[in-house]
C-alpha cells in the first residue's frame, strides 16, 4: 500500500519537474553555461578546420603571411591524387596498421577466451589485465626512442642477446630493412595496444548471458561451435567499436615511426606514414597549402574506412537477424 503511495508521489513530482522545466525555457542560464564551450569550440576547433580547408586551396607556404599566397583552386588536391609519395605513405600506414591489428586482436581474443572459459576458471584476471595494459600508457616518444636503441644493430640489446644465445651469427640491422622496420613498428604498436583490446573484449564477453553457453554444451556443441555461433555474433557491437577506434587511430600513426628512425620515413620511405608526410610537407618543407590538402585527404580516407566498416558489420548483423527468425 505504502509503496503505491510513494510511486504516486514520485510520479507527481516528476510531472511538476517537467512543468518547471518548460517554465525555465526563457531563462538565459543555459546560454551562459554553454558559452565558454561554444566560443572555444568555434574558435579553436571549427575555425582552424575551415582555415585549413581554405589554405588547401592556396599555395601558402606558411611563411610570410597568407596575403602573399595565391588562390589555386583544387590544384593541391589534383597534385595529391597523382602523388606517388602519398600513395606510398597510405600503403605504409595500412600495412603497419594491418599487421599490428592482426597480432593485437589475435592475442587479445585468445586471452579473453581463456579468461572467460567457464571450465578453466583462471585466476588473477585483474593482475594480468593491469600488466598487459601497462605499455599503453607509456609516452610513445619514450617507447620509440627506447626501441630505436634496443634494436640498434651494433650495440642494441636485442642483437647482443641473440648473439649471446647463438641464435644469430651476425647482428641484424633491424631498422635498415623496409620490411623489418615496418614489422617492428607494427609489433611495438601491438605490444602497446593488445592489453587495451583485451580489456574491452573481456568486458564484451562477460556481458554475454552464461546460459547461452550452458545450453550449447548440453546440446553437445564443441569449443569452435560456441565461439563462432555465440561469442562472435554476440560480440559484434564491441568488435565494431574495437575495429573503428583502431583504424581511426591507425590511420593517424605518427610518433612511433617518426622517432624510430630519421623522422622522414627511413629506411627507404618504409616508415613514411600519412601524418608524417603531412607534418613534413607543412613544417619541414614549408608547403602549408599542400599539407592542408593532405589533412583533408586523410579525413576523407578515415570517413571512407569507417563507413565501409559500419556497412559490412551492419549487413552481416541483418543477415544474422534474418537467420534467427527462421
Amino acid at each position: 500500500m505504502n509503496k503505491t503511495d510513494d510511486q504516486t508521489v514520485a510520479a507527481d513530482s516528476t510531472a511538476a519537474v517537467s512543468k518547471r522545466k518548460t517554465k525555465k525555457k526563457n531563462h538565459n542560464h543555459p546560454y551562459f553555461y554553454i558559452a565558454p564551450f561554444v566560443i572555444v569550440f568555434l574558435s579553436f576547433n571549427i575555425y582552424p578546420i575551415l582555415l585549413t580547408f581554405y589554405y588547401s586551396l592556396t599555395n601558402y607556404t606558411g611563411l610570410g603571411g597568407i596575403e602573399n599566397a595565391d588562390f589555386v583552386g583544387f590544384e593541391n588536391y589534383a597534385r595529391l591524387i597523382g602523388d606517388s609519395f602519398f600513395y606510398e605513405a597510405f600503403f605504409n600506414t595500412i600495412k603497419i596498421w594491418g599487421v599490428n591489428f592482426a597480432i593485437q586482436i589475435t592475442i587479445a581474443m585468445g586471452l579473453a577466451l581463456l579468461f572467460s572459459d567457464m571450465r578453466l576458471k583462471l585466476k588473477g584476471l585483474n593482475t594480468f589485465r593491469a600488466l598487459f595494459f601497462l605499455p599503453n600508457i607509456i609516452t610513445i616518444a619514450s617507447v620509440a626512442l627506447l626501441f630505436s636503441i634496443l634494436l640498434d644493430w651494433n650495440y642494441g640489446s636485442l642483437n647482443q642477446m641473440l648473439l649471446t644465445l647463438n641464435l644469430i651469427d651476425r647482428p641484424i640491422n633491424w631498422l635498415n630493412d623496409p620490411v623489418l622496420a615496418q614489422g617492428w613498428v607494427a609489433l611495438i604498436g601491438a605490444w602497446m595496444w593488445f592489453g587495451n583490446t583485451f580489456i574491452i573484449l573481456m568486458a564484451g564477453i562477460s556481458g554475454i548471458p552464461k546460459d547461452f553457453y550452458e545450453a550449447a554444451y548440453i546440446d553437445g556443441a564443441n569449443w569452435w561451435d560456441t565461439f563462432t555461433k555465440i561469442t562472435l555474433p554476440q560480440l559484434k557491437p564491441i568488435l565494431l567499436y574495437v575495429f573503428i577506434t583502431s583504424i581511426i587511430g591507425g590511420l593517424q600513426i605518427f610518433d612511433l615511426p617518426l622517432l624510430m628512425t630519421d623522422g622522414r620515413g627511413a629506411p627507404r620511405g618504409a616508415l613514411n606514414t600519412m601524418v608524417i608526410y603531412l607534418y613534413n610537407q607543412g613544417f619541414s618543407y614549408a608547403n602549408f597549402g599542400y599539407s592542408a590538402a593532405i589533412a583533408y585527404g586523410l579525413f576523407i580516407i578515415t570517413i571512407v574506412f569507417s563507413a565501409i566498416t559500419f556497412k559490412t558489420m551492419y549487413r552481416s548483423q541483418v543477415k544474422v537477424k534474418k537467420g534467427g527468425r527462421k
Binding site: K25, Y31, T139, Y241, L259
Partner: protein, 275 residues
C-alpha cells in the same frame, strides 16, 4: 578434472611468459640505465651495473629532464581541470534546460568525434601565430575547454544518475542555478570526472604532434619533445645516459599506474560499453 588442471598449468606458464616478454624492454632499459657506455657496448647482461650516478650527471649536464616533467605536468593538469569543469558545465546545461540550440550542438558533437585532430593542425598553428600565442602553452591548454567527447560522456552519466527532483528542491530553498551546479551536480558527476580525467591527463601527457608544432623554446619543452631532443643529441653517444633519460620519463608513470590501474581499467570498460 586432471586434464583441466594440466591445461591450466600450461596456460599460466604462457601467461607468465607473455608478461615477461612485455616487460623485457622496460627491464633492459632499467638495467642499461645503471651501466656505463663501455659496458653496454661490450655486451648484454641482466645484472645491474653501478654507473647510475655517472649516467645521471652526463644526462644532467646536457638536459634537465625534470623541467620537461614540470612543463608536461603544468599542461596536463591545466588541461584536465579545464576539460572536466567546462565539460561538466556544458553537460549540465544540456541535460537540465530546454533551449533552441540544443539539438544543433548535439549533432555537432557526434560529427566532431569522427574528425581526426590533425585536420585543424595547420589552421591552429596559423591562428596561434596570428594571436601571438605561438611558443606558449595557450594553444595547447585552451582547446581543452571544448571537448565534445567528455561532454557527451558526462551528459549520458547525468541523464542516468541525476534525479531532477534534487534541483527542484534546491530551487525551492532559493539556491541559484550556479550554486546548485557547484554544490549538487559536480559531486554527482565526480565518478565520471575521475574516469574521463585520467584519460584526459594521459592523453595530454603523451601528446606529441601539437607541442612539436607549437613550442619552440627549449625551456618550454614538454617531456615527449625533450625525449625527441635526446635522439641525435651529444648525449646520444653515451648509451647509459640515454637509457636513464628514457627511464626517468617512464618509471614515474609506471608507479602512478600501479595505484590507479583499477580506475583506469574500469573506465576503458565503461567507455567501450557505452560507446
Amino acid at each position: 578434472m586432471g586434464k583441466i588442471k594440466t591445461a591450466r598449468g600450461v596456460i599460466y606458464f604462457f601467461l607468465v611468459l607473455l608478461v615477461i616478454i612485455c616487460f623485457i624492454p622496460f627491464y633492459m632499459m632499467i638495467i642499461n640505465a645503471t651501466r656505463s657506455n663501455s659496458e653496454i657496448l661490450r655486451g648484454f647482461t641482466l645484472i645491474p651495473g653501478n654507473a647510475l650516478m655517472d649516467n645521471y650527471d652526463i644526462l644532467n649536464s646536457y638536459i634537465n629532464i625534470w623541467i620537461g616533467f614540470r612543463n608536461s605536468l603544468i599542461i596536463a593538469v591545466s588541461v584536465t581541470v579545464l576539460n572536466s569543469y567546462f565539460s561538466a558545465l556544458t553537460a549540465f546545461a544540456l541535460v537540465v534546460y530546454e533551449f533552441k540550440a540544443k539539438n544543433v550542438i548535439f549533432i555537432t558533437f557526434i560529427v566532431m568525434m569522427m574528425v581526426p585532430g590533425q585536420l585543424g593542425l595547420i589552421g591552429l598553428y596559423d591562428l596561434a601565430s596570428t594571436f601571438g600565442i605561438l611558443d606558449t602553452y595557450w594553444p595547447l591548454i585552451i582547446p581543452a575547454i571544448a571537448a565534445p567527447f567528455t561532454v557527451f560522456f558526462f551528459r549520458q552519466f547525468l541523464i542516468t544518475t541525476m534525479p531532477m527532483s534534487i534541483l527542484e528542491s534546491g530551487r525551492i530553498d532559493g539556491a541559484s542555478e550556479t550554486y546548485m551546479f557547484h554544490r549538487l551536480v559536480l559531486p554527482i558527476l565526480m565518478p565520471a570526472i575521475a574516469t574521463m580525467g585520467i584519460f584526459t591527463f594521459i592523453g595530454s601527457w603523451n601528446n606529441f604532434l601539437f607541442p612539436l608544432v607549437i613550442i619552440r623554446s627549449p625551456r618550454l619543452y614538454t617531456l615527449p619533445i625533450m625525449i625527441r631532443q635526446l635522439q641525435g643529441s651529444p648525449v646520444a653517444s653515451n648509451l647509459g645516459a640515454i637509457y636513464l633519460g628514457i627511464a626517468i620519463s617512464v618509471v614515474p608513470i609506471m608507479i602512478a599506474f600501479l595505484f590507479l590501474s583499477k580506475y583506469i581499467i574500469s573506465s576503458i570498460t565503461a567507455g567501450a560499453v557505452k560507446g
